[in-house]
Amino acid sequence: MTFTEFNTLQRIQAEQTLQKHLSLFGFQAMDTPTIHQAGLFLTRAGDKIIDQLLTFNQHGTQLALRPEFTAIAIADYLQLNTTDIKRWQFAGNIYQHQPDTRQEIQERYHISVELIGAVNTLSEAEIIHMALSGLQELGIANLQLTIGHVGLLRNLLSRLPLDRRTIRLLLSYRNRIQEENGVQFVLSKVEELLTLDTIDLSPAPANHTNDDLNTEEMLNVILDSTKSGLTMGGRTRKDISQRLIYKRNRSTQRDEVIRGVEFLQKWGQIAAKPDEAFSAIQSLIEADDTSSQNMLSEWQSLISILSDFGRKTENIIIKPDLAQNWDYYTGTVFGITQNETWFGGGGRYDELATILGSPSPIPAFGFAYYADRFTSLTQIAKQPIYTFSTSDAINPANWLTQLRAHHIALSLVPNKNADLCLQTNGDLTYQNQSYSLSQIDDLISDLKETSNE
């Protein structure tokens, strides 16, 4: 980013306006270091974060410049060892490494909000409304809100008779399915898994009924006899034997896998105004699936609450497949755009806490403004800085102190063409009019009148 004085002023004003706005909703400003242990970010979900992490090694410890605030917020919350509800806001630079671009190291400015400890439909709607109204405070209009849902996707997939691994595999190919020839590509990949020959390690002897035990025994024999077991990478023999059993049984899942791929394709194609989109989603929910039905109802309720907050549905798009990271978000996800430029986004991410070491999920909802994308649109409030010159024989300290006490911004300059000129008799001239120190109120009044014009 190239900075100019104007850019900087816009950024400062945008940050101040948004911080004030966010605090109206109870979000307390927090500071956080720029540099953290890289592991904090390397374990969290989000391939783009991992791919673009800017790391360095300091005395054997791998450190990273923060790529975002969310993981930091959850890590700080876990450290507090509390169950209190926290509403935090963060602002500052985040760093990304993008080796394929001209500017490999990208420094961006984010303002981030995290609600941790308790989340419901009302708080989600309130935060989304807050995100939109913050931008409107900056004078930015014509915003579009797009909302998706990761939790409903997972729930619907869990209804298919597929094991967890296969569902996970399909989800990892989710984005690819929507690309040209994507379905064929994914089906071919899955077909490879379904049809590859697998070492059959369990010719079950008559007295063995435990499939797992038999496979593990045979694996031990093979690994020991060939000395292949000398190098295990980070896996155990049990990891390998369990996966072998899964692979052996997977060929029975072919039809269900195809159904899963077809479902994901339909899911990814929905992007419409709420009524139309919810109708399409409803058609994907089976009649006896009350759990998914409840999620859909909550989602519809979210839109209804947003409407109560004044958010018109014609500016809302329901796009169920919005989230890039399926294993990070767990519920509602949303993004704010203007003319297809993303100004911010976020969602529900209960499972991030477990990824970072919590024994159980912690409800959390947050978003980030990508501030460097819209601060140039911020309307600058008029804050003039008056130039002040003084003749060498006179000490201007008194005038300067008193004017600044009245919030008049002044900049000392050497030349005589300044806005305010201190004369040898101690008077200050402004626009051909002289003022003594006792007339400072008149001067201030005239200065403010001129700045309002």
Binding site: L42, T43, I50, D197, S228, T231, G233
Partner: protein
């Protein structure tokens, strides 16, 4: 612009000696007057100075314009992709190796990259950490793993003994170059069959800006002409065989009746004369010269024998120059498109 052109060649490693051998076969023998110095020359290219560098440094120096040309491995060029490098010839025909993903042999359940994608997610869900991938090719590895749908991994950059990383415990899998696969096997690793990131061999590269210099382009043309001709020649042998027949036309007809003895255009036929200048006794002996592909050599010899050929002399072919160097023409087309 200077009149001198610098060509960087690998100073050590598996690709160094084959590079000198290749250039020698091209008729461009490399000399290093002082083995302690890093400079040399090429007899057939008086305007060229040779600079001996490590394989990676060849790429860096071509990229930053310190040298105009270089020969190095395609794997290194791919890893250090830059707009300031133009690949002039991507298949010099030696230094073959593959950049692959390799896993411990004990992972008998991993037979494809899709299996590895599944295991990567296992690591996250069950072990709470990312799959660790040791490699010196961080850019190539990262790009490939994302392309095949593996998004959860940590790259462990290592400059040496990559194959030992899983045994030593600081990585789970590796991305590394393999030639025969022996080193992998000895370290109890196996390459995943469908996880070949790149098939590499020696390549000729040039600094993109330097290509605007006519003298550089002229030197490149010479190198590419010889390179194309040498590479093409490797596929052929020349056969000289004596055959007796009614006349040259009859013999030509017999020889050309088999596609493998038709030669590049057709057989060359010359009559054989005795020392006195008369026709040899039992007359009508002719010498046939054809060029045949190496794969067909023995079949060609057998056929020529069957039509009466004897005293078959086979010679290697040094160069096969076509009407123009195809690689040089492709380069010109590419440069014209760039404008």
């Amino acid at each position: 612009m200077s009149d001198r052109i610098t060509l960087a060649l690998p100073s050590k490693g598996a690709i160094a000696e084959p590079t000198y051998a290749f250039l020698k076969a091209c008729g461009l023998k490399v000399s290093q007057p002082n083995p302690r110095q890093y400079t040399g020359n090429i007899a057939g290219l008086p305007q060229v100075d040779v600079l001996f560098q490590r394989v990676k440094d060849v790429v860096y120096k071509v990229a930053d314009g310190t040298v105009e040309l270089g020969i190095t491995g395609l794997d290194v060029v791919h890893e250090n992709n830059s707009d300031s490098i133009t690949i002039l010839h991507n298949k010099l025909g030696y230094g073959h190796c593959k950049l692959v993903v390799a896993v411990p042999e004990s992972w008998v359940d991993v037979e494809s990259i899709a299996d590895l994608a599944d295991v990567a997610i296992d690591f996250r869900e069950n072990k709470g950490r990312n799959l660790r991938v040791a490699t010196t090719f961080t850019n190539s590895a990262r790009q490939y793993l994302h392309e095949v749908g593996i998004h959860h991994f940590t790259l462990v950059r290592s400059e040496g003994a990559i194959e030992a990383a899983p045994t030593l415990g600081y990585a789970d899998v590796i991305v590394d170059l393999v030639q025969t696969g022996t080193t992998l096997r000895e370290n109890r690793l196996k390459a995943i069959p469908d996880a070949v990131i790149l098939e590499s061999q020696a390549c000729l590269i040039g600094n993109t800006s330097a290509l605007k210099n006519p003298q550089v382009l002229s030197t490149i043309r010479i190198i590419l002409e010889y390179a194309d001709a040498t590479i093409k020649a490797k596929n052929y042998h020349q056969i000289n065989v004596n055959i007796r027949g009614k006349d040259a036309q009859e013999i030509a007809h017999k020889v050309a009746s088999n596609p493998i003895t038709q030669g590049l255009k057709g057989p060359t036929i010359a009559p054989i004369y005795s020392a006195s200048g008369d026709e040899i006794e039992n007359g009508n002996w002719h010498t046939i010269t054809i060029t045949t592909k190496n794969d067909n050599l023995l079949d060609a010899v057998d056929f020529l024998r069957s039509i009466g050929g004897t005293q078959v002399i086979v010679s290697p072919v040094s160069f096969v120059f076509l009407q123009e160097s195809p690689t040089y023409q492709q380069l010109l087309t590419k440069l014209n498109h760039r404008g």
